[in-house]
């Protein structure tokens, strides 16, 4: 006795069947026209997401052919310079994928290039989120989830490139073993646990495989789901501009525009990775040979995202073993570990530090243009410089031969740069941001310089400025502005250390600031201009008469 009309078309019948079981109608009603803002910098997270999908798909193919075993075998495949060589089954199967299985090499290359792009895009996405302040309330937790995703990505990459058990990645494992052994008290035991005995052992490759195809992907997928769920709940942030406020989101609806753009973008990311993989060699394991503790290649570096850690090992000062009651702590290893951990923790907790400093508990959905948060941007620049110097530190030997310099000079220069680089970067960036803010202010108050010079009736020459329209003006003045916090006594009348510290940091953040143009200032600036100038500014410039 239902009054619902029965569907007649094939599409209708399918939709009806599914909706009866899956509440599809409700889902499409809820999400179908959800609005997403459109800016290219918002797509970096998508690049990471789609490249992760590429990596999972290509990786699945590889799992059908790769064998994670450290049993010994003799190579009998197509690559002549390794024929008859003794190696592990893991390495032999990786060679077979590369040389003797059709589609094997292209999928291996797609997998590795895809992984490099995945971590790079994640990093760039994190930088975009940082520099635009997208980590502020309510997204602090999403920042932490994203940070964990970046770490998991590094882990997945490291475990992955160690799987072929070639000389290059094997030496990387050797270095990890050396670092683990150096951990106080538990080091040698953890090393034995990780490798199943003495290095290299026969257990580490299968264990890395389990981490690489099961544990880390599961964690990444779970964290990704949480990350995207929070994105849907909070909705995406948007840049300041006309019509964009903290209580709305301006953009395009999910269906059809975003389905087409984001869906199309998946194919584009995949396609670019495939094109690169068709043309450029990545990780030529056949050149390195099987892992053996005796040989080593010049130019032994890890994949780029582990580079900063290798650089930390190279840049650490030498001779730093510390002895306590006859027990040794190798600071040459522990110092890089401690420094990297401190750096990572600072990155993870930054949103909470900034929230504490500003005291701002409101929701923030309108982003900051980086120039409008000079101290945050400067801190970010300092952090990036620190990371970049450590990263460059991993290639000291290549820099030395490429630029024909002494290896020792390059290293010493980088040690110095590691300390002074971030300081200089902070100072330069902060001053640049403040200068840009001043420029914005100038434009908001007085408009843009047109280069046209006008002579006023009383003889004065002025340059005509074209006032910005209301949309542009709004974009220039709509940003959050903070003052330093004064230390206030608490209920007991005491000014605590915490309050003093907060006040001091707040001063560093906001003491040098360019306030947004106020209504009073704006009206004053415009009152200055005689109507004659504004009239003349509107007129077309006179055509020069040709003298013939």
């Amino acid at each position: 006795m239902s009054s619902v009309t029965e569907p007649t078309t094939a599409v209708g019948k399918t939709a009806d069947y599914l909706d009866d079981r899956l509440s599809l109608g409700t889902v499409i009603k809820q999400f179908g026209r959800k609005v997403f803002p459109d800016h290219w910098s918002f797509m970096l997270g998508e690049v990471a997401l789609w490249s992760f999908v590429v990596v999972v798909l290509s990786g699945t193919f590889l799992t059908f052919f790769y064998e994670p075993s450290m049993a010994h075998t003799y190579y009998d495949g197509s690559y002549a310079p390794l024929k008859g060589a003794e190696m592990t089954v893991a390495y032999a199967s990786s060679l077979d994928i590369s040389f003797d299985i059709r589609g094997g090499l292209i999928m291996r290359q797609i997998h590795h290039w895809g992984a490099l792009i995945f971590v790079a895009a994640s990093g760039l996405h994190m930088l975009r989120v940082f520099f635009t302040g997208a980590f502020r309330k309510p997204r602090e937790l999403n920042w932490v989830i994203g940070f964990l995703l970046f770490l998991m990505g590094m882990g997945a990459g490291f475990t992955g490139y160690s799987l072929p058990d070639d000389l290059l990645s094997g030496n990387g494992l050797r270095i990890i073993d050396g670092m683990i052994k150096g951990i106080p008290v538990i080091g040698p035991a953890v090393s034995s646990g990780f490798f199943g005995g003495e290095f290299p052992g026969t257990e580490v490759i299968p264990r890395l495989y389990s981490l690489h195809i099961m544990i880390l992907p599961a964690l990444i997928i779970a964290l990704l789901a949480a990350h995207l769920l929070l994105l849907v709940i909070h909705m995406h942030t948007h840049y300041p501009g006309p019509g964009r406020r903290d209580d709305n989101v301006v953009g395009y609806p999910l269906m059809p525009v975003y389905v087409a753009k984001a869906g199309g973008f998946f194919f584009l990311v995949f396609g670019v990775i495939a094109a690169i993989s068709a043309l450029f060699t990545i990780n030529p394991i056949w050149n390195y040979g099987p892992y053996d503790p005796s040989p080593v290649s010049a130019g032994t570096q890890p994949d780029w995202y582990i580079g900063w850690l290798d650089g930390a090992l190279r840049l650490a000062p030498g001779g730093l073993d510390v002895a306590i009651f006859g027990y040794v702590i190798p600071m040459g290893v522990m110092l890089p570990i401690i420094v990297s951990l401190v750096f990572l923790v600072l990155v993870a907790v930054y949103p909470f530090i900034e929230a504490w400093v500003t005291g701002d508990k409101r929701d923030h959905h309108v982003l900051d243009r980086p120039r409008n948060a000079p101290t945050r941007t400067a801190i970010g620049a300092a952090g990036v410089t620190f990371y970049a110097v450590l990263w460059a530190g991993a290639s000291t030997d290549l820099i030395a031969i490429f630029f024909q310099m002494s290896l020792n000079h390059v290293l010493t220069a980088m040690q110095v740069l590691l300390v002074i680089g971030p300081v200089i970067a902070y100072w330069v960036t902060k001053r640049a941001c403040l200068a840009l803010q001043r420029k914005d202010r100038e434009i908001a108050l007085h408009g843009r310089e047109t280069g046209r010079v006008v002579r006023l009736p009383h003889g004065e020459y002025i340059e005509v400025h074209e006032p910005v329209d209301k949309y542009e003006l709004w974009k220039l003045v709509d940003f959050k502005d903070y003052e330093p916090i004064m230390p206030r006594p608490n209920k007991k009348g005491k000014i605590t250390v915490g309050t003093k510290l907060r006040s001091a940091i707040s001063k560093i953040y906001f003491e040098d600031r360019i306030a947004p143009v106020s209504k009073a200032e704006y009206e004053l600036a415009h009152a200055d201009h005689a109507p004659a100038i504004e009239e003349r500014a509107k007129r077309k410039p006179k055509q020069l008469k040709k003298k013939l």
Binding site: A85, T281, A298, L398, H409
Partner: protein, 258 residues
């Protein structure tokens, strides 16, 4: 007596005289300075080498190769050293610095052979390798294994080169002839260690040469190699071209259509 008829000059006589003169002087010169392919180390070749040595090398290496301020003693370095150093253009050395660079070769094959013969005559040392060890029909698997253990740490796993301390370096090996590779191993130029025939037998050296030439001749199956220097090049490529291209696409994607 009959008065002699004046000699009638034939027009072509001058041509014949000049031609004969050229043949005689040219032939005479060639005969006087003939090359010594027939026998390496013959007294004529050694003497030729000594003259070249005095003109080009003695100022640094001493008039009898005993060494001087600019250069070490060459006594006992053997013909192979000279053939390598001069044959790759490293010698005559130019500016002082941590290491010699390859430069355009300044002498002909015969001149290099002569100087090599002269230096070889000073004292026994490594000889120019025989042809049989310079062919590339050795065992590339064994060669690769030996290369990785003995050479890759300085020259990189496929011979792309590497850094040493204080501005020194191990050069890239592509384009180096089989003979020069052998000679470098056996003489240990500059800071390169010496790999005598007890350490790496001539067969071993041939296998290494076979391996290097195999790698040089067969490009990578994966495509362009980005210099074969490993993850650093790959990382730079990812950030500059991989992300660069993808970001260009995102900018296009987000821009409004015309």
């Amino acid at each position: 007596m009959n008065p002699q008829k004046p000699m009638r000059r034939r027009p072509w006589a001058l041509g014949v005289v000049i031609f004969l003169g050229l043949i005689l002087s040219g032939g005479g010169y060639a005969a006087a300075t003939q090359t010594f392919e027939a026998e390496f180390g013959s007294p004529e070749q050694v003497e030729e080498g000594r003259k070249l040595f005095l003109a080009n090398c003695a100022s640094c290496h001493g008039t009898n190769g005993e060494g001087a301020i600019g250069g070490p003693s060459l006594i006992g370095v053997g013909a192979a050293s000279v053939d390598f150093q001069v044959g790759t253009g490293r010698m005559p050395g130019q500016a002082s610095g941590p290491q010699l660079y390859k430069k355009p070769v300044q002498f002909t094959e015969e001149q290099i052979a002569a100087m090599a013969a002269y230096v070889a005559s000073l004292a026994p040392g490594p000889a120019i390798p025989p042809e049989e060890y310079l062919r590339t029909d050795g065992d590339p698997t064994h060669g690769g294994e030996l290369f990785r253990i003995n050479c890759a740490m300085c020259h990189n796993a496929v011979g792309a080169g590497g850094a040493l301390t204080e501005g020194k370096f191990a050069p890239a090996l592509d384009g180096v002839t089989e003979k020069h590779i052998y000679e470098a191993m056996v003489t240990g130029p500059q800071n390169m260690p010496v790999f005598n025939d007890a350490n790496l037998t001539p067969e071993d050296k041939k296998d290494i040469i076979t391996y290097l030439k195999y790698v040089e001749e067969n490009g990578s199956v994966g495509g362009f190699e980005l210099g074969s220097i490993g993850p650093v090049a790959e990382g730079l490529f990812t950030w500059i071209f991989g992300l660069g291209f993808i970001i260009a696409i995102t900018v296009w994607l987000g821009a409004k259509a015309n």
